[in-house]
Symmetry: C2
Subunit: 205 residues, 2 copies
């Protein structure tokens, strides 16, 4: 990379943290531009026109090119490193867990964390409140699936850390802020400790 | 690939169709095992134990290894082909659209298609029915974002077809079955025609 990548982020977002953690583990320098999603700063006209018409962060900027989607930004930074396995099945299996994260994990665990910790239950719409029980069950299902998988493995793909772990770590390690009790998932807790012990690890702000 | 991959699928699923379309475009032979998701066949004990503990299809089986998540299965099959760009930014940008598909597109457009076309509005739970307006808006937003992007491009990444197109095509081309009017999206309609004209293209069953 000839230019220093710029991360457009809100530091409270686990999706943004993923990218910073990948950069830290790989010793890649990142610049950041910060936005307050609670104040709608990623819905402002300038942001929509110049950074992401989807109105979402994170976005990784590379010169004059913009890359939305947290897991795609992680992939860009980690390409060619050990966090992205070369072997054909292992590479696809890494993506398998990253798609699982975005489909089964993040919409439940991250959304409940956002609603309960940042928006506040009293400020939720009726429709949001009605979705809490289903998101609670689906979030517990995602954690239970990780628990079963990690019972016999150090990391999601086996003995070495990959982007599958970093992607899932971001919202799993703060799941209690969404009301999920991690004490029911001892293998997940042990895995969290293993990730926090990686050389170069940085904590979420 | 020394063994013929086996696709565990329900032919009505766009997520399964994606994988078959990739195999067809790349002239890769696939075997299939069919399940009826309406009858809960992917929640049966044997399926959960042997194929996918997540209870979901598609799953791509490679010998004794199992790969869930439609986009991960597409990635496995298309690795090393032109559908997965080699260049670092283009490869991450391909994934960007595949994550967009699973986060912003599929949960809205595919879910409304499933509810309205296969389950039937009369059989929806009260909670499902309450989610229809939000999913309608989010699905239209996803189509509008594709429309704006495709106005100046032949395919999602520019002039050549990639997995980004195949992934998004699967549920976009049947979006009308979920009540989305594609006539409002002429660039999307032109793109659908371009994909249907690709050598090796197969239609959804």
């Amino acid at each position: 990379m000839t230019e220093i990548p710029i991360l457009h982020e809100d530091p409270r977002s686990g999706n943004c943290y993923k990218i910073k953690l990948v950069a830290a583990l790989l010793d890649i320098r990142l610049e950041t531009r910060q936005y307050d999603i609670m104040r709608g700063e990623t819905r402002a006209r300038e942001f929509l026109a110049q950074v992401n018409s989807n109105g979402r962060i994170p976005v990784l900027q590379l010169g004059n090119r913009f890359l939305p989607e947290s897991n795609a930004a992680c992939w860009y930074l980690a390409s060619g490193s050990a966090l992205v396995p070369d072997e054909r099945f292992a590479q696809a299996d890494t993506l398998r867990w990253m798609f699982f994260e975005q489909y089964n994990h993040e919409p439940n665990i991250a959304t409940l964390r956002f609603w309960l910790r940042f928006v506040g239950e009293a400020h939720l719409t009726e429709q949001q409140r009605a979705q809490i029980p289903a998101k609670r069950i689906a979030g517990e299902d995602a954690l239970a699936l990780m628990e079963a998988h990690l019972k016999s493995r150090g990391f999601m793909l086996g003995s070495t850390v990959t982007l599958a772990d970093i992607s899932l770590f971001a919202y799993t390690h703060v799941a209690e802020e969404g009301g999920f009790g991690l004490e029911n998932y001892p293998a997940v807790c042990a895995w969290i400790k293993r990730i926090m012990a990686l050389p170069g690890f940085i904590a979420m702000e």
